[in-house]
C-alpha cells in the first residue's frame, strides 16, 4: 500500500464545508438503532464546540427508504425533499446537514437531477406549492453529519480525554472504517476522499490516534440493502454480504469498526450475532464480536462521555473489551439502569457470541 497514493486521491476530493450555522435533520431509524448518536452529535457541536445547529420538529422522512425500495415515485420523493428545504428556508438557514447517509445521497441525487433537468425542479416547486403552499431555496451547502465531525476532528482531538490507542501496548487500535454506500458511490465528488478511498472516517480515526485497516472487501456493502433485509426471504443474502466483509477483515484482527450510516452499524453489529448463532463463528478476541460504533459514539468516547450515556448498552456486540483496551472507565452495574437509576430489563445472552 502506497499511503502517498491515497493522499493524492484524497487531495483530489476536497469538499467545501462551512464552519457554522447548519440546519440539521435527523434520520428515521438511527434514533431507534443507536439512540445516543444523534443526541451526542448536537451535544458535541453545540455545547463542546459552540456551533449553531438548528433543528425543527416539523421535518419528516426524506423518502429515501421508500424511494430505494421502489414504493414511491421520484416526484413524490422530490416533493418531500422540497418541503424539507422549505423548512430550512423558513428557518433562515442555507447550509443543510443530514444525519442519514441515504438522506444525504437522496438530497444530492435530487439536487443533481434538478441541475440537469431544471424543468423538473419547476414542476416540483409547483407540486409543493399546491400541496402545502410552501416555497424554498435550494441549500447553498449540503453535508452529511460525518462531514462535520470530520471537519471538527482536530478540534475534538485537542479536547480528547481518550485516544484510540491500546492502553497496554501503546499501539494504535486497528480500526475498520465502513462508509455507507449512498455517501459517495453515487456521486464520488460529493464525498470527502471520493468513493474508492473515502477519507471522511479515516481522517477521524487518524486524528484520534487509531490506525485504519484497508482490507479487500472495504468497499463492500454492509449487507443491509433495503430490499434484501426488508423481505425475510432475502435476509440470507443480506447476512451473506456481511459475512463476506467479516471474512475479509478477519486476518487483520480489527479492534473496532467505525461507520457513518444508519443501517451499517446496526447490521454489522446484529449480523455478527446471527453469524455466530448459525455458523458458530465469531470475529473478535476470546469469542466476542468486533464492536461497531457510529462516529458520534466514537467522538463521545474520545471526549470522555460515559459509555452508557452514549447508549452503548444497546449494542449487540459487547463494547466492554474495547473500553478496557482503551482504558475508558465505566460502571458495569449501571449498564442496564434507566435515567431514573432503576434497572431496565436485561437481554438474554446468545449461545455462541460472548456478551456481557
Amino acid at each position: 500500500m502506497i499511503y502517498q497514493g491515497k493522499q493524492k486521491i484524497w487531495s483530489d476530493y476536497q469538499k467545501e464545508i462551512p464552519d457554522d450555522h447548519w440546519y440539521y435533520v435527523r434520520s428515521c431509524i438511527r434514533q431507534n438503532f443507536f439512540p445516543g448518536s444523534e443526541r451526542m452529535f448536537l451535544e458535541i457541536c453545540r455545547n463542546v464546540l459552540g456551533r449553531d445547529f438548528h433543528e425543527t420538529e416539523h421535518h419528516t422522512t426524506c423518502g429515501g427508504i421508500a424511494y430505494h425500495c421502489d414504493t414511491i415515485p421520484q416526484e413524490t420523493a422530490m416533493t418531500i425533499v422540497a418541503r424539507q428545504f422549505a423548512l430550512m428556508t423558513e428557518a433562515g438557514y442555507e447550509n443543510y446537514v443530514a444525519s442519514c447517509i441515504t438522506s444525504f445521497g437522496n438530497y444530492t441525487e435530487i439536487l443533481e437531477t434538478w441541475h440537469e433537468f431544471p424543468e423538473l425542479e419547476t414542476r416540483i416547486r409547483e407540486l409543493l406549492w399546491k400541496a402545502c403552499r410552501k416555497e424554498f431555496r435550494k441549500p447553498k451547502y449540503l453535508a452529511h453529519t460525518s462531514d462535520l465531525i470530520f471537519k471538527y476532528r482536530n478540534e475534538i482531538a485537542e479536547k480528547a480525554v481518550h485516544h484510540l490507542v491500546n492502553k497496554e501496548t501503546g499501539e494504535p487500535l486497528r480500526v475498520v472504517e465502513h462508509i455507507g454506500c449512498h455517501y459517495a458511490k453515487m456521486f464520488p465528488s460529493k464525498g470527502i476522499g471520493g468513493a474508492e478511498y473515502p477519507y471522511v472516517l479515516a481522517g477521524m480515526v487518524e486524528a484520534w490516534g487509531g490506525n485504519v485497516i484497508d482490507y479487500p472487501e472495504r468497499r463492500h456493502c454492509c449487507g443491509y440493502g433495503f430490499r434484501q433485509y426488508h423481505i425475510k426471504a432475502n435476509r440470507g443474502y443480506s447476512v451473506s454480504n456481511t459475512y463476506k466483509k467479516f471474512e475479509s477483515m478477519e486476518p487483520y484482527r480489527p479492534d473496532m469498526i467505525i461507520t457513518n450510516c444508519p443501517g451499517c452499524p446496526y447490521f454489522l453489529d446484529r449480523w455478527q450475532y446471527v453469524i455466530a448463532e448459525t455458523e458458530g463463528k465469531t470475529y473478535g478476541q476470546n469469542g466476542y464480536g468486533i464492536p461497531v460504533f457510529t462516529y458520534e459514539e466514537v467522538a463521545g468516547l474520545v471526549l470522555g462521555y460515559d459509555p452508557w450515556d452514549l447508549g452503548l448498552q444497546l449494542h449487540q456486540v459487547a463494547v466492554e473489551p474495547l473500553l478496557d483496551k482503551i482504558g475508558i472507565p465505566y460502571v458495569p452495574e449501571d449498564k442496564y439502569k434507566g435515567l431514573d437509576r432503576k434497572e431496565i430489563m436485561r437481554p438474554g445472552l446468545p449461545q455462541n457470541l460472548k456478551c456481557y
Binding site: 500500500m1 493524492k8 486521491i9 471520493g194 478511498y197 482490507y215 479487500p216 486476518p251
Partner: protein
C-alpha cells in the same frame, strides 16, 4: 524546390516524415519537447508482431533523419499566420517562417491513476503497460518481485472505451500489446498463471491472431471476458482482482502478484494547445480532426497544415509510419503545384 517544413514532434512519425522530406530534397525542422527522439516507441522494448526491438526502429529513424534541423527541449511559444505562411516562435527564442507545418504530436498514455478502482499508485503491485516495457528494457522496477511471480493479470481497456474516463474510443493496440507482454512475461516466469481480462479482443492486424493462438495454446494464458471492476490489497500485499466472467455469467476473483493496466491512448494536450493557436478543429474524441477520415486523414482544414500519426487517433507503429510518408507526399505535391 527546397522548402522548409516544420515538424512538431520528434516521435517516429516526425522522424519518418523528416527522413522522407530529406529524400525529396526539402529542409525539415523537427521540434521536440523532450530530451530525446523517438517518442513513446523509444520507451518500448519490443514491437509486435515480429518482436523487433523498438530501439532498432528508433535508431534507424534517428540516423536517417540526422540531416534535419532538430531542436530538442523546445516547445512552440506561439504561431501566427502571415499571408501565405506561418511564423513559428520557439521557446528557445528562434523564430521560423514556413509555408508548411506537419503535426506529429502523437498521443499521451492515459493516466491509469484516474481509474481509482484499479489502485495504480495506491497498491504496490499495480503497474502499467509502459512500466512493464521499461522493466523489460532495464530490469529495474521495485514493484516487480522476480522471486514471487505466481499469478499475473492484465487489464485491457484501461481508459479506453470508457465514458467515465472520458475516452470512448478503442486504443487499438492494447489488446495485442497485452498479449505480447503476457507472452513475454510467461517466457520469463514459466510457472506463473497469467490472466488477461478483456471485453473484446480486437486483434485486427497482420499476425495478431497468431499471437492470440500462441498465447492460448503454447503459453496457457487464461483469457477472461470481463472488465475488472475492483482491485484491493490483501494482508500479504497481493492484489485481489474482481471481475465478472461474462462467459460464465458469474462473479470471479483472483489473487495476483502483479497487475498490469493496459493504459490506452488519449489525445496529447500539447497538440490541442498548439492546434488552438491556429484554431484547428478538435474531433469529438479529443484528437485533431482531419479533413475527412477516409481519404484525407493527413490533411487539416487549413492550408499548409498536415497531420501524421497518433495526433488524429490511436494508431499502430506501421500505420503511423505509413501516415508520415503519406503526409510527406501531400506536402511535396503541394510544393510542386505551387510552382
Amino acid at each position: 524546390m527546397n522548402e522548409i517544413v516544420v515538424i512538431i514532434g520528434g516521435g517516429i512519425a516526425g522522424l519518418e516524415a523528416a527522413r522522407q522530406l530529406l529524400a525529396l530534397g526539402h529542409s525539415p525542422i523537427v521540434i521536440e519537447k523532450s530530451d530525446h527522439l523517438g517518442g513513446h516507441v523509444a520507451d518500448w522494448h519490443k514491437l509486435f508482431p515480429d518482436m523487433k526491438p523498438a530501439k532498432d526502429i528508433v535508431d534507424e529513424l534517428v540516423s536517417s533523419s540526422k540531416d534535419a534541423n532538430i531542436f530538442l527541449h523546445t516547445e512552440i511559444s506561439f504561431i501566427n499566420r502571415l499571408k501565405d505562411r506561418y511564423n513559428i516562435m520557439l521557446s528557445n527564442g528562434i523564430s521560423i517562417t514556413s509555408r508548411y507545418i506537419l503535426f506529429t504530436t502523437g498521443f499521451r498514455l492515459f493516466d491509469a491513476a484516474k481509474k481509482e478502482e484499479y489502485g495504480y499508485g495506491v497498491y504496490n503491485q499495480v503497474i502499467t503497460n509502459q512500466d512493464l516495457e521499461k522493466w523489460f528494457n532495464t530490469s529495474k522496477d521495485s514493484r516487480i518481485d522476480n522471486s514471487a511471480m505466481k499469478a499475473v493479470g492484465f487489464v485491457h481497456c484501461v481508459g479506453s472505451r470508457d465514458e467515465k474516463a472520458r475516452n470512448t474510443q478503442c486504443s487499438k493496440v492494447c489488446c495485442i500489446t497485452a498479449i505480447k507482454q503476457a507472452i513475454e512475461l510467461k517466457e520469463k516466469f514459466p510457472d506463473a498463471e497469467i490472466y488477461c481480462f478483456y471485453m473484446d479482443l480486437r486483434l485486427f492486424g497482420k499476425k495478431f491472431e497468431d499471437f492470440y493462438i500462441k498465447a492460448q495454446r503454447d503459453c496457457g494464458i487464461h483469457f477472461i471476458r470481463g472488465r475488472v471492476s475492483e482491485v484491493s490489497e490483501n494482508i500479504d500485499g497481493k492484489v485481489i482482482v474482481k471481475a465478472e466472467d461474462t462467459l460464465a455469467g458469474r462473479p470471479m476473483k483472483v489473487t495476483l502478484d502483479l497487475l498490469v493496466l493496459m493504459s490506452g491512448m488519449v489525445c496529447n494536450p500539447d497538440s490541442t494547445r498548439v492546434a488552438g493557436m491556429m484554431s484547428l478543429p478538435i474531433d469529438s474524441d479529443g484528437f485533431l480532426r482531419s479533413t475527412d477520415n477516409v481519404s484525407r486523414n493527413t490533411v487539416s482544414p487549413k492550408n499548409g497544415i498536415f497531420y501524421a500519426g497518433a495526433c488524429t487517433g490511436p494508431k499502430t507503429v506501421p500505420e503511423t509510419l505509413a501516415e508520415a510518408r503519406s503526409a510527406v507526399l501531400e506536402i511535396h505535391n503541394s510544393i510542386i503545384s505551387r510552382r
